[in-house]
């Protein structure tokens, strides 16, 4: 019977072309949507690598009247004293502008011997950064304040970057870069997802801010105690504002920044999902219509099959099987195009994302066609053979 159906479908290929085209188009839409959803879901499943709760971000500008580094260091020492003397502030670190969820980027190359990895996030922070962010140390150690006095710059890197650069070798003690950019790797931390829950963190390295660097750092990240409320926030803000006269300051919560950053990813995806859903809904109506039309056009054949020995179940099964075989042909075409995405590295996603998306899309399309064929097939099978023969 299967061979018979293949023959029938092949001989009707022109009649079935509309159906085939519809399936290919809907497969591609579902494939692109599910590629992104799979990508986001895979990232979502990965560990965050730090704790964003109870972190406040103080963005500041230098007072215009202070130009000298020493004056600025003294100026920010007053800020340090306030933060140290405030019990609700558990720890703090000055930071460059690219703190997690900040929408700001600072990247560089990581060079080791003849190997170079591009677009590595560079975080300039202080020794208390792990206390503030609660990052997870995998090997080696974090900076100490004394490290800033060493001639050779200390540096930490993330686990994935370590594996990419050094493979199974121990990265601790390895000297990267040349001349002024020379740095020694002193530790490895788990990857951090600094661009939101749904995006990969990317490779990262952490460099230590020297005391004088506070003049361009621009941010202070502080971990506050869980009972730090709005009243405390107001009090701290006033205290800092009074101390940092001439600076413009802004205090925000990292958890709020995270929500906003996640929305930047989810909102376009939500819009695309809604559009794709409408498209799929229309396609399913189209499929239903095409199948209904095809089956109505074939009433004589259905009547004949019933007359020569097909039961209603046989007819229903045949019509559904035919639709699923046609779907398989369409999916073969669709998969041919979809497979180009990992081969050509379109969107630069991991190959596994595309393969999962292809699998999901195939299942989805099979299910959609099955559901669309179910009712017309059942209706056709329910017609009395004499009536079906008469209707041709």
């Amino acid at each position: 019977m299967f061979k018979h159906l293949i023959k029938l479908i092949w001989n009707r290929r022109k009649k079935n072309s509309l159906f085939l085209a519809e399936i290919v188009v809907s497969f591609m839409v579902i494939f692109i949507l599910s590629s992104f959803l799979t990508f986001y879901y895979q990232n979502y499943r990965k560990a965050l690598g730090f704790n964003y709760e109870n972190i406040w971000v103080l963005r500041y500008s230098n007072p215009p009247e202070l130009k000298e580094t020493d004056s600025l260091v003294r100026y920010y020492d007053q800020v340090r004293n306030i933060l140290k003397s405030t019990p609700q502030v558990k720890s703090y670190t000055f930071s460059g502008s690219n703190y997690p969820y900040s929408n700001s980027m600072s990247t560089s190359n990581l060079d080791y011997k003849d190997k170079s990895i591009n677009n590595v996030n560079v975080y300039n922070i202080e020794s208390d950064y792990p206390k503030v962010m609660e990052t997870e140390l995998v090997a080696g150690r974090w900076f100490t304040p004394e490290d800033s006095l060493n001639k050779r710059k200390p540096m930490l890197i993330t686990k994935t970057l370590s594996q990419e650069m050094f493979g199974a070798d121990n990265p601790i003690g390895k000297i990267t870069g040349k001349a002024e950019r020379e740095a020694e790797i002193i530790g490895v931390i788990n990857d951090i997802k600094s661009d939101g829950d749904y995006l990969p963190g990317g490779n990262s390295m952490f460099r230590q801010l020297k005391p004088g660097d506070v003049k361009w750092a621009g941010q202070i990240l502080m971990r506050v105690s869980p009972d730090a409320d709005a009243a405390f926030e107001s009090k701290l803000y006033n205290l800092l504002a009074n101390t940092m006269k001439g600076s413009s300051i802004e205090l925000s919560h990292l958890s709020d920044i995270r929500i906003s950053r996640n929305r930047q990813t989810t909102t376009p995806m939500l819009i695309f999902t809604v559009i794709a859903s409408f498209l799929v809904f229309n396609v399913s109506l189209g499929l239903f219509g095409v199948l209904w039309y095809n089956i109505n056009q074939r009433k004589g054949e259905i009547g004949l099959r019933r007359a020569i020995g097909a039961s209603a179940f046989n007819v229903n099964k045949q019509l559904i099987t035919e639709a699923l075989i046609l779907t398989t042909f369409s999916l073969l075409i669709g998969v041919f195009f979809a497979i180009q995405f990992p081969l050509l590295k379109v969107f630069n996603l991991e190959s596994s994302v595309y393969f999962i998306a292809i699998f999901i899309s195939c299942i989805f399309i099979y299910l959609l066609v099955f559901l669309c064929a179910l009712y017309p097939g059942k209706q056709a099978a329910a017609i009395m053979p004499a009536m079906a023969l008469h209707e041709e």
Partner: protein, 221 residues
């Protein structure tokens, strides 16, 4: 072979009730060639469809080969039609997208028969109707008479005991009609197949063993 007892068929719509068959009782013996005649709309095809279990009577009993078919499930009816009955229609009802051999093979698809055996049986049936040289043609490439011969081959491929023919010569000229009639007579005489044929053609009907005439859904002869 076929026993119709007090068959009635009523078609109902919201406003109209039409009595298509009015209490017909008929016995058709094994090996008999029976023709049914009557004016258009008198219920000939309806009676044939009921006899072939393609339609259900509103009341009455159909016994085919000692089996009361009234209580058959859909699956049993399908199996019964497949094994016991062969159908020939005025408009051939061939599948134009399939080659002649594939068309003839169709009834065997619903049996547990291997592909090669199906091919052999279909080829033998086509041989019997003189179309072994047209196996790989499509129905649209054949004349009306050839198409009807393909339909006959399809009807006999499963070696049914009964063939039900609904105006098999209705769309053909007299020469072609005679050719088809000769095949049917041969099937009846040589193979002993029971044939019930609906026809408008008195000349064809006279060639059969018995003639039943219908008028307004009732048997008049």
């Amino acid at each position: 072979m076929i026993e119709l007892k007090n068959i009635e068929k009523v078609y109902r719509t919201d406003t109209v009730e039409t009595l298509a068959i009015n209490g017909i009782s008929l016995h058709i013996a094994k090996g008999e060639f029976l023709s049914i005649m009557g004016p258009s709309g008198c219920g000939k095809s309806t009676l044939l469809n009921i006899m072939g279990l393609l339609d259900q009577p509103s009341s009455g009993t159909i016994v085919v080969d000692t089996q009361n078919t009234n209580a058959f499930s859909d699956k049993e009816l399908a199996g019964f039609r497949n094994k016991k009955l062969g159908f020939i229609f005025q408009s051939y009802h061939l599948i134009n997208d399939l080659q002649v051999l594939d068309n003839v093979e169709l009834p065997l698809l619903y049996r547990n028969i291997s592909s090669s055996e199906r091919r052999e049986l279909a080829a033998a049936a086509l041989e019997k109707v003189g179309l072994s040289n047209r196996m790989s043609h499509f129905p649209t490439q054949l004349s009306g008479g050839q198409r009807q011969r393909v339909a006959i081959a399809r009807a006999i491929v499963g070696r049914p005991e009964i063939i039900l023919a609904d105006e098999p010569t209705g769309n053909l000229d007299s020469a072609m009609g005679n050719e088809i009639m000769d095949i049917l007579l041969r099937l009846n005489e040589v193979d002993g197949t029971t044939i019930v044929m609906v026809t408008h053609d008195e000349h064809m009907a006279k060639k059969t063993h018995r003639l039943v005439r219908l008028f307004d859904g009732s048997q008049v002869q």
